[in-house]
């Protein structure tokens, strides 16, 4: 019997997708999947089914169903000892980041992002639309080559319909050729900003890491060209690489305006708003050092950052010491502003809702 492998593969992929869909909240709050992330795929654990099979034992060697027993009598056997056999490993399946983004979008009912009108840059694409007389053999166009050969023989009177035979010469050879076409392409940049002051603990950073992964996944599915920059701050802000972003621990105080100043500088130096779709995602426990700095932050946001970005998202994680005042301040100041999305993230379970708050605006 022949199995249609394609059907089976498709069925398997549907099972995997179904599992991701079913356990999306768990996956979103669980760093395990992200730990197994490649460039284009993530691995997800799948439950495996052990197919029952018959095992033959020795007859009348004692055990269950092998004669009379007394109440409280111990079962024969080795008892509770550490095993020396290898354990069973979880089966893993690969899911592409595109599929993951699709599932995320469907489950959270996220609208597709509409790039801002002018935020497009031209990118060159090669398309094989032409035919050339010279080229590499790998690009030889067989049908057109034989057509040319036939034309040449008919024109030269050497074509014999009763004995059809075509022998292409060098002049008959035709090759596929490409044309470079400038196509508009939307580009986006994400600036992740994280407070790494002493009050932000390991768990808070893990929550930020998980959020950042899902935000990345969604935005990558919406933009072909996506750049991510990572900024950290305590009393001073600096740019770091992705790895440092999630691991660094500082003990200084929190001065949020230092991060906003860096965001503004990066935007003006690298991301002209007329060419880029800009997203700023800020994560903090909301413990700004002083109310005067909070006031400075609000001014900077309103006048210097918001006019340049598609979305400014502020996620407030909660530490052992609760969360600070910044959330209320930003909520009060920018209530109803479409460019601002705010979300409280008290624990990992709140990540899913937070992603919806951030990306549900379709900006």
């Amino acid at each position: 019997m022949t199995l249609n492998i394609d059907q089976d593969v498709q069925r398997f992929r549907n099972i995997v997708k179904g599992r991701v869909r079913k356990d999306l909240k768990k996956f979103m709050s669980d760093g395990e999947m992200i730990g197994k992330q490649g460039d284009k795929y993530v691995k997800i654990p799948l439950p495996s089914i052990n197919i029952p099979r018959l095992r033959y034992g020795k007859n009348e060697s004692g055990g269950v169903g092998q004669g009379e027993g007394e109440g409280g009598e111990e079962m024969p056997g080795e008892g509770q000892k550490a095993g020396n056999q290898p354990g069973e490993h979880e089966v893993e399946a690969e899911v592409s980041l595109e599929e993951l983004a699709q599932i995320l979008g469907e489950e959270l009912q996220l609208p597709r992002i509409e790039p801002r009108g002018k935020k497009q840059i031209a990118a060159a694409h090669d398309r094989y639309t032409g035919i050339a007389r010279i080229g590499p053999n790998a690009l030889r166009h067989t049908r057109r080559t034989f057509q040319a050969s036939l034309q040449r023989q008919i024109a030269g009177g050497t074509w014999d319909p009763s004995r059809p035979m075509l022998v292409p010469t060098k002049e008959d050879m035709r090759f596929r050729s490409w044309k470079s076409k400038q196509e508009p392409q939307s580009s986006a940049a994400i600036l992740y900003v994280m407070d790494v002051s002493g009050s932000m603990g390991k768990e808070q950073k893990e929550i930020v890491r998980l959020e950042a992964f899902w935000i990345d996944t969604w935005l990558k599915a919406n933009y072909k060209h996506l750049e991510a920059r990572y900024l950290i701050h305590d009393a001073a802000a600096r740019e770091v690489d992705r790895d440092t972003f999630f691991r660094v621990k500082e003990s200084g105080g929190t001065l949020i305006s230092s991060a906003y100043a860096l965001v503004e500088r990066l935007i003006s130096e690298h991301y002209p708003p007329e060419e880029w779709n800009l997203y700023v995602f800020q994560f903090s426990d909301g413990d700004n050092w002083s109310s005067s700095d909070t006031k400075t932050c609000m001014d900077m946001l309103r006048t210097r950052i918001l006019p340049k970005v598609n979305l400014f998202a502020y996620g407030q994680v909660e530490s052992e010491y609760g969360s600070g005042q910044f959330f209320q301040d930003i909520a009060k100041e920018f209530n109803g502003d479409e460019r601002v999305a705010i979300s409280r993230i008290p624990d990992r379970g709140a990540i899913m809702g937070s992603i919806r708050d951030f990306l549900g605006k379709g900006r």
Binding site: G198, S199, G252, G322
Partner: protein, 158 residues
């Protein structure tokens, strides 16, 4: 010297309200909610060290100042040893000229903890209640007179 401050404060605490005493250039300010012979229930304790003793003060170089603030935070953590929860420096920022100490995470119960803020000279101690998803607020806390005396004495002795 600070012992004198602590004793003066103790003598003043008989009714509720803000009690403020000064002794040899140091000042203690306590917002008393309730008091009896053995214990006091307070909202806030503020201790102002003398000008000369301010680690963050003075005209020293910035580097020297930064070291002093870390030292102050460590000293304060020790000074608060009489509290039922261990205090640890959470944020120490020479740039911002201050430090925050809080109860160690493992000691935090029912979302309440002690918080002390200092600029090197003025130190405030409060107890904070931080319900999930809500604003933090200061709540009254109880100290024995002995513990309060010791805290004021040690914090003010910087």
């Amino acid at each position: 010297m600070s012992d004198g401050l602590a004793r003066a404060l103790d003598a003043e605490i008989v009714v509720q309200g803000v009690i403020c005493v000064e002794h040899e250039g140091r000042r203690a300010e306590v917002e008393v909610v309730e008091a009896d012979r053995l214990a006091v229930r307070v909202m806030r304790v503020r201790v102002v060290a003398g000008g000369g003793a301010s680690p963050a003060g003075g005209a020293g170089p910035a580097g020297g100042r930064s070291e002093s603030l870390h030292e102050t935070a460590t000293r304060l953590a020790e000074a608060f040893r009489g509290l039922p929860e261990r205090m640890i420096p959470i944020e120490v920022s020479p740039t911002l000229g201050g430090a925050v100490l809080r109860s160690a995470p493992e000691d935090v119960r029912d979302r309440e903890y002690f918080e002390a803020r200092t600029d090197g000279r003025v130190t405030d101690l409060e107890r904070i209640h931080a319900p999930a998803g809500e604003e933090r607020r200061a709540v009254p806390f109880t100290l024995t007179r002995e513990t309060l005396r010791r805290i004021v004495e040690r914090v003010g002795s910087g």
